[in-house]
Each structure stands twice: as C-alpha cells, then as structure tokens.
C-alpha cells in the first residue's frame, strides 16, 4: 500500500462506490447506506444540480395495483414489456415496475412535492395513462440533502477515469478532481455505475461554433461509464440504436418538448404540422413492425421531409384544451424553469403560436436499450460491478422511473454483495498506468484541443454511420476511427484540469463511437420503426435471422469481441 500512496494523492476505501450522482446514483447510494454499507459517491459536477436531470424530471410512470393510484398494474405493464422479443425474460419486471411507486414516495418523504394537498396525483396522460406530474424543481437538491443526512461521503467535481479490476472482479476506480487535480484511488467491495446516457456522439447543430450551448441532454453524460466498463471488460449491448429527437426550435427548446408530449390530450398524435397546417401523423403510413419505442414512423417521415427541403415544420398546440396547455407550463416550471423566460422573451405562447421544429437531433444512444448489460439485480458481466439508470442496457425501462427504480435496486444488491466480500488487492502497476494515461494529456507535446477532436469524431459518425447506414460507408468509417485513435488521440493536449476532464471525455466518446459503429455494422437489418437503426442496404427487419437477437460486445485484451445472442443469454 505504501507504493500506492506514492502514485495517488489519496486512497479512499469503502463498501460501495457509486459512480455518478444523478437520480440513479443518489438512489443507489441511499439504498446501499440503508443496508448498513459504507458508501462513497463520485460525481463529476455537484450532486445538487447534476446528472441528465439537473433539477429533476417533470413526469414519472407509476404502475400500481390500486387503480386510484395507477390505471396500469405492474403485472399488466410487465406483460406488455415481455411481448418484446428483445427483452430479457429473466428480469422480474412485475417486481421492478411495482417498486417505482415506493421510490416516488421516498422522494416525497425527502421533500419533493409529488401530490396535491388532497393526496391525488396530477395526471399527464399524453404518452401513457400511468404517467403523473412531479411537482418539484428540487429533486436533486432533496436527494443531496438526504445523502448528507445519511452520511454518504460525496466527492463532487471528481471524474472517474478508469475502473480497476483484480482477477476478473471489480476492485474500485480511479478519480480525478477536476478543480484541484488530485488523483484519488477508490477501493470498494462493490461498484455501481450510474453515469447516465451516451451523448455528444453526433454534431450539435445548435452549437455551430463548438461547445454545447443547448444540448438535448446534459453534455456531462457522455459515456464515461460506458467507456470505462468496456475497457474493464464488461459487456455492452444494443450499441447500434440511436435516439433521434425533434424539438421546438429555441428558445422554446428541448425541455419543453418532453413536457409537451406528456401534456398531450390522450389519443392525439404528436402535434407536428407542415407549413399548410396538415398533421404529419395523418400523412404518415405507419410502418409495419414492433414499435415498442414510440414515435418511430413519424420521425422517419420528418427526417425524410427535412432532408428533402420540405420544412418548415411546426409544433401546433393552439387547438388543445386549456388544461393540457397549462400542463406544458407546469412541466416546464418543474423541470427547467428558465424555459419560461426564454419563451416570454421571444413572445412565444403555446396557446396562440405554433413553434418551428429543429432539424432532427441525434440525442444519444437509445435509452434503456443501449448500454452496459444488466440483469434483474443490476449485475453487469463483471463480478462486483453494478449499473443503473440510463447507462443500463437491455432493460427497456429508463428515464425517471427507470433511474430511481434501478438505482435503488443496484444499491441494495451491491450492498448485499459487499457485505459478503472483502476489498480486493489493487495492482500498483495498473494504478500507475491509469495515472499516466490521464496526466500525459497535460504534459505531452501535442497541440490538439479537445473540441477539435470531439468535432472530428462527430463529423465522422455523421458521415459514416448517421441516420441512413450502409456497409461500405461504415467500413470506411471504421478505418477512419482507427486513424483518429492512432494519429489524433495521442496529440490531445490539455492546458488545465478543466480541459483535462474534457479531453478524457473525448477519449471516452471515441470508445463509445467505436462500439456504436461496430454494432451498427454487425446488425445487417433495419430494426425498429423510424431511424433508430436504418440500414439502406438491408431496409427491412429480418425477422428470420435477427428477431430477438442482441449485438453484445466486450473487450478481451486489445481485441473487441462481438456476439449475437438472444436477450436472455447476454
């Protein structure tokens, strides 16, 4: 251990280490602490306003046996999920879905307003009758307070740079304080990965001069956990699937979009119209296939129309009943209050104005589908490593309900694992290597700025994978990504600790980009309506060969291994 202390600035030992202090990570920490475990949270920003939620999320899906609480029972919802041939049947969905209500009540106990004074929920039935409004802009602050009350040790401004393994099991992680440069070794009996979704893979047209400006998701969630899990040998699944989104153009931006969809009068389609006021949903012949993921067919149409120069397209909520229009505003207040000022200043009122849509934005890899594969106990393929929230792959259950439910489960099961495990030894050589990988970015002779490399990777993915994919382009893209890794990556140079964080992020984005491209190349069919994975060389679903088949990949030494498996064998 003496030797280790010469390599790192601090050694922290704990039972359960939670990486990422968003909604899932906070719930994991609370649950593990509740089972008596010593818990440490590593958070790249500050738990009070971090994760993809920043403030919180304005809606949550509740399933309950009491029809006064939810018109959809956990059993019924689970049955529906199980019809999906890509779902892992081993996951006890009845049990998982039923827990969401308990977690929402946990939030209420922490101080979040989730019900009216008379105990009733406000329904936001636009997408599902089971969805209710969360009336709290301080979900993250309340969770942070709860961590404090439970004496969970939080390391804010600390980025996980690598997971550490020993004999094929997880032994902890390395962390960099991005303000002070302190390099910390976290030793843990169990580790929960809760680093969120993988964004920043494709160019952000809202930020033409680089940077973030208005990113569909928090740019802090850029696949740090995906990349570290991959480097440590864990299995990732479904990395080919993309989530494209269409948002009202700024300043009525993306946060408004989620609120808008959930506020929709039930039964009405997404209120997209063309310049003549015709509802796009009525123009679209819905594609045949299993659309377990929502609005696929419509977005495919939008993508084609915008590509062919047929815009502008608008969101038109002017004919909605007043109560639904009000729900949008309530959602904004609860999720991202600044949106109201942006709207006011530009003179936009949903009751009287139709709002122009952006172009289609690649927001992230598909939620609840792409990511680190977990089982019903949130175990990954690496013993001791758990994952929860948006990073968890193959669950088909994400967002707020997924984050708090999987988060709590991951914390519980990780604490149980930790209770019957010992701290594993840490290999000083691996720690030294991990440190060298980080700090050479500060000390090297390169002159490549992280934004230049990020843009290079994004343009490459847009040109060689993108929305319409084919074999020859992806093969070229694979070569070019290899060239990026060999020629450009070594030239990255960071001027300070903040840039060091960004440079490490771009390295992670490159890892995720590679997984995305390889998975997309492997799946020789088009799957799911819309442009989640649209292969122009295989333009239809191949039910015979690909129905219920998952692309699973992991690293063995320097090699990337790919397997095509049924979901319950991943």
């Amino acid at each position: 251990m003496r030797e280790l202390e010469n390599i790192v600035d601090e050694v922290v030992a704990t039972d359960v280490l939670v990486i990422g202090g968003g909604l899932a990570g906070c719930f994991a920490a609370i649950a593990a602490r509740g089972r008596g475990a010593d818990v440490v949270v590593m958070e790249k920003a500050d738990v009070r306003r971090s994760g993809d939620a920043t403030f919180g999320i304005d809606h949550v899906g509740l399933r309950h046996d009491d029809p006064r609480i939810s018109p959809v029972s956990p059993k019924e919802a689970a049955r529906k999920l199980r019809e999906n041939p890509f779902v892992d049947q081993r996951i006890p969905y009845e049990e998982v879905l039923a827990e969401t209500y308990d977690r929402v009540m946990d939030l209420e106990r922490m101080g979040c307003k989730v019900r009216r004074a008379d105990g009733s929920f406000i329904r936001t039935p636009g997408i599902s009758p089971a969805t209710v409004l969360m009336m709290s802009v301080d979900q993250k602050k309340n969770l942070a307070q709860e961590l404090g009350r439970l004496k969970v040790k939080v390391h804010n401004r600390t980025m996980m740079t690598d997971l550490l393994t020993y004999g094929g099991r997880v032994a902890g992680a390395l962390g960099l304080n991005t303000r002070t440069g302190r390099f910390i070794l976290f030793r843990a009996k169990a580790v929960v990965l809760a680093t969120g979704k993988a964004t920043r893979l494709y160019p952000n047209h809202q930020a033409p001069l680089g940077g973030f400006v208005v990113q569909g998701s928090s740019p802090a969630c850029c696949g740090d956990g995906h990349a570290a899990a991959f480097r440590a040998g864990a299995r990732l699944v479904n990395m080919e699937f993309s989530r494209y989104t269409l948002t009202p153009k700024n300043p009525a931006w993306w946060s408004s979009k989620g609120s808008m969809l959930h506020s929709k009068p039930p039964g009405l389609p997404e209120p997209l119209v063309d310049s003549r006021g015709r509802l796009l949903a009525e123009l679209v012949q819905e594609e045949k296939g299993i659309d377990m993921l929502g609005t696929g067919g419509l977005y495919r149409k939008v993508w084609e129309m915008l590509k062919d120069g047929q815009g502008p397209l608008f969101y038109d909520m002017t004919s909605w009943p007043e109560e639904n229009q009000k729900l949008i505003t309530l959602g904004n207040v609860c999720e991202r209050p600044i949106v109201l000022r942006y709207l006011r200043e530009s003179g936009i009122d949903y009751r009287t104005h139709r709002v122009e849509t952006s172009s289609l934005i690649h927001r992230c890899l598909e939620l609840g589908v792409s990511g680190v594969k977990i089982d019903g106990q949130c175990r990954t393929s690496l013993p001791g490593l758990y994952a929860a929230g948006d990073i968890a792959g193959g669950t088909f259950f994400s967002a707020l309900s997924g984050a708090i439910t999987w988060g709590h489960r991951a914390g519980r099961f990780a604490a149980e694992y930790a209770a019957c495990s010992e701290l594993l030894p840490v290999d000083p050589g691996a720690v030294a290597e991990g440190r060298e990988r980080v700090f050479r970015l500060l000390e090297g002779t390169g002159n490549l700025h992280w934004q230049e490399l990020e843009k290079t990777i994004q343009l490459l993915l847009e040109d060689y994978v993108g929305a319409a994919r084919n074999e020859p382009r992806m093969r070229r893209g694979r070569e070019l990504l290899r060239e990026v890794r060999e020629k450009l990556l070594p030239q990255l140079k960071a001027a300070n600790y903040h840039e060091l964080m960004r440079s490490l992020e771009v390295g992670n984005i490159l890892d995720v980009a590679e997984m995305h491209l390889l998975s997309a190349l492997t799946r020789r069919e088009t799957r799911f309506p819309g442009i989640r994975h649209y292969r122009i060389d295989y333009p239809h679903p191949d039910e015979e060969n690909w129905r219920g088949k998952i692309v699973s990949l992991w690293r063995e030494g320097e090699d990337i291994r790919i397997e095509i498996l049924p979901p319950d064998q991943t």
């Binding site: 920003a45 500050d46 009070r48 306003r49 971090s50 920043t54 403030f55 802009v137 804010n156 401004r157 991005t178 809202q206 930020a207 033409p208 001069l209 680089g210 940077g211 973030f212 400006v213 208005v214 990113q215 928090s218 740019p219 802090a220 009202p248 153009k249 700024n250 300043p251 009525a252 931006w253 006021g277 608008f314 038109d316 002017t318 991202r336 209050p337 600044i338 949106v339 000022r341 942006y342 530009s346 003179g347 936009i348 009751r351 009287t352 104005h353 139709r354 709002v355 122009e356 903040h498 964080m501 960004r502």
Partner: protein, 76 residues
C-alpha cells in the same frame, strides 16, 4: 456578442453557489476578488441552474444570437 451566464458583479455577493453547482463547469473562481468568473461560456448548456440558484439574482443566462430569434408564428 457575449452568451452563457452573465454575472452582474454589483449584485454578486461571492457566495460561490454558481461556481459550485454548474453542471458543465463553466465558472472559475477568482480567489483575489472572491468572485466567480465565466471561463468557458461556450460550454454553457443554457440549463439555467446558476440563474435559478443565485440568491442575489446576479446571473442571467444569455442565448447565442442564432437562438434569440423567434422561430414561431401566431396562428390564433
């Protein structure tokens, strides 16, 4: 044109909350003046956390020019 968080130093009390909570680490801290500084405006995600949490109402998040246009039509 400056965009991202704009700090009104006449109202700022130096409480550090913006520097502490910014999800994208846009702020630095000027130890001499005990005040926050905007170091990376183009990494601002316009989330508004700093503006919302500033007790002195000393911060306003400004969108870049191409996002300040109206992009809407009155139909009613």
């Amino acid at each position: 044109m400056p965009n991202g968080p704009l700090i009104n130093y006449e109202s700022c009390s130096g409480c550090k909350i913006c520097y502490e909570i910014c999800p994208t680490d846009v702020f630095g801290w000027d130890e001499e003046r005990k005040r926050p500084v905007v170091l990376y405006p183009n990494e601002c995600n316009s989330c508004g956390a700093c503006e919302f949490d500033c007790l002195q109402l000393a911060i306003k998040v400004v969108l870049p020019p191409w996002l300040q246009l109206t992009y809407a039509e009155r139909v009613k």
